[in-house]
Symmetry: C2
Subunit: 350 residues, 2 copies
DNA sequence: CTGAAAGCGCTTACAG
DNA sequence: CTGAAAGCGCTTACAG
């Protein structure tokens, strides 16, 4: 069935085999203009047979060059992915399919590129018009200036970011700060004064980084504002790795004057902390109140159900739809801020 | 700096601005032929200035069409990803960069497509020559016939699969069966006769599926062959979801005549099972031996360290290098089988 | 050392 | 209802 090795068959070959012009082949394969100038069923049949026989496959390079769009969009995120990103990808796939778009993913390294910068940069996919648009999840290490350049160059862009001004692209603002502040307030209201923090490594390594240490900084600021500043001895690493979260929590519980509440920079870390506490015979939230950050899928399935902050529902219809509006529009949309606020979700663990 | 809205600048615009021909622009930007016919430093300088000034960005459609390759490869996997796939992606990125290739990911839905099949299919990226090659991780639901068609159509392909013959593409055979059989033998040697199985949902839903239920089928077959067939009451779901693994393990331990050993279809499930057992006061491996499958990164970090089966090292240099050989070669490589056998890794939990 | 020109595979206004 | 032809942005053998 498939063509012989060598040059892959083109529409010219199909046209020749079916005895029609390439225009006819193109109309039939792309499904356009059918109503205006219908092709006779026999012609169509003949062409489709030739396609089958030659093993013809459309080559998008030609189409993209001519149509000036690739009909591909990209979900950009920082490895590893998470349920959040997967849900986003699914929705991009579903909503994009309606306008004939396919989705690819661009997983970016979790660490800033080493020197010398690798050639080609992974960002080539965005820079050289391989895709018509992209959704950038929060946490990637792409520079704001790069994003502005990409948008100026014609890429349709929707960016999840908490501290960035729209500039030719839309910014989905998770408004994490107020929810995190609410969480701190909630714990203080419950009477806690010794509050610990289970951190991601990067937060301890670069506590001043506005983006990477946003959670840590916000929690620390809220506590300080309430007159109960974070005790450095109650700040421990481990939110990244399950077993370390477990060990560090047990260590915290054994120090003199241990915390009565613990905020974990990840839901995962919080769940491990719950187990760590229980294994030591401590009750949650009685002896130790524990809260996560992120509102992952596991938090509501465990006992005690996890108090956390995050998006109440993983529904990205608005930003995803916006991306395709941008792609469809002549390119004249300004940049909007799309608020998608995190919320405090109080369950049983605090 | 960037061009005004409207048509994006092309090499023609750059050439006009710099007062040279498009050929010169192209040579400078692509870096080819420089040694054969060097461009004078001034010309180069002038062109690069024009590029900067116009905000010119290469458009890969034109290049791909002309060069007959996209310089893009794709890692195809089934959502969600896992450390295994991430490692593979990293290595594709690193090794590909040496030949000027960028990597994208194509995450496929975890369930077979609903009827009617969505248009466009996510496989369009592979079918319509968006990429020059792809590595397909194991577990995707792509039909073998589809893989053969893609290879016949000229796509360079390396497929991780345990039950597939090479056919214009290479097959990385994980040889999972013998390692799984070894695991069963190991437990039997230790004197276990009541062995339980913590399954992925799909294994219970489609136990006859050669690909999706390979682990379950192999374990069951090995036990049956040893004269100790799997007791259906000892087969429980939960390997997919942490909390369910925990609950189901505790349930298993409370039944009359409980298992003395448990094989989990995932490392993650096994780790949760360890915690579940310990929370009930059962010792591991004393009261319950527990083994995982997959050799993820967490298994060696916990106590007791997890016995598991999987790849001893996450080194995919051979298959990844092979992919780029395929891409580079005139296209005349046959299909090879690349064995990359799983092994039994005995640690402390059994 | 540089430029004019052909052509990669497709789409699409236009003429018939 | 169908075909001839131009052209999308780039690369590259070839002529100068």
């Amino acid at each position: 069935m498939p063509e012989k090795a060598g040059r892959a068959p083109t529409q010219r070959d199909v046209a020749a085999a079916a005895g029609v012009s390439t225009a006819t082949v193109s109309y039939i394969l792309s499904g356009r203009r059918d109503r205006v100038t219908p092709v006779t069923p026999e012609t169509r049949e003949r062409v489709l047979r030739a396609v089958e026989q030659l093993g013809y496959r459309l080559d998008h390079s030609g189409r993209s060059l001519r149509r000036r769009r690739t009909e591909l969009v990209c979900v950009v995120y920082r490895m590893p992915d998470n349920p959040w990103v997967e849900r986003l990808a699914e929705q991009v796939q579903t909503i994009g399919a309606r306008s004939g778009y396919s989705m690819i993913a661009l997983p970016l390294p979790s660490r800033p590129p080493a020197e010398p910068v690798p050639r080609p940069s992974p960002l080539r996919v965005l820079r050289e018009r391989y895709v018509d648009g992209a959704i950038v999840a929060n946490g990637t290490l792409i520079e704001p200036a790069e994003l502005r350049r990409l948008a100026a160059g014609g890429l349709s862009l929707v960016v999840f970011h908490d501290a960035l001004a729209p500039a030719g692209f839309d910014v989905v603002d998770l408004v994490q700060r107020s929810a995190l502040t609410d969480l701190v307030g909630h714990l203080l209201d419950r009477g806690h004064t010794r509050i610990g923090y289970l951190a991601h490594d990067v937060e301890l390594a670069a506590p001043d980084d506005e983006v990477q240490s946003l959670k840590y900084r916000t929690v620390a600021a809220a506590l300080a504002a309430a007159g109960a500043p974070l005790d450095p001895r109650l700040v421990v690493p481990g939110a990244d790795v399950r077993e370390r979260a477990y060990v560090e929590t047990q260590r915290l519980l054994r120090i003199e004057n241990p915390p009565t509440a613990l905020i974990s920079s990840s839901d995962r870390g919080a769940i491990d902390a719950i187990w760590a506490a229980r294994d030591l015979g401590a009750s949650v939230p009685g002896d130790l109140a524990i809260a996560g950050i992120g509102n992952g899928t596991e938090g509501s399935a465990i006992r005690p159900a996890l108090t956390t902050v995050g998006l109440p529902r993983l529904d990205f219809t608005v930003p995803v739809t916006r991306l395709f509006e941008r792609i469809t529009a002549p390119g004249e949309l300004p940049g909007d801020r799309i608020p998608q606020p995190w919320q405090l979700i109080v369950r049983e663990s605090t």
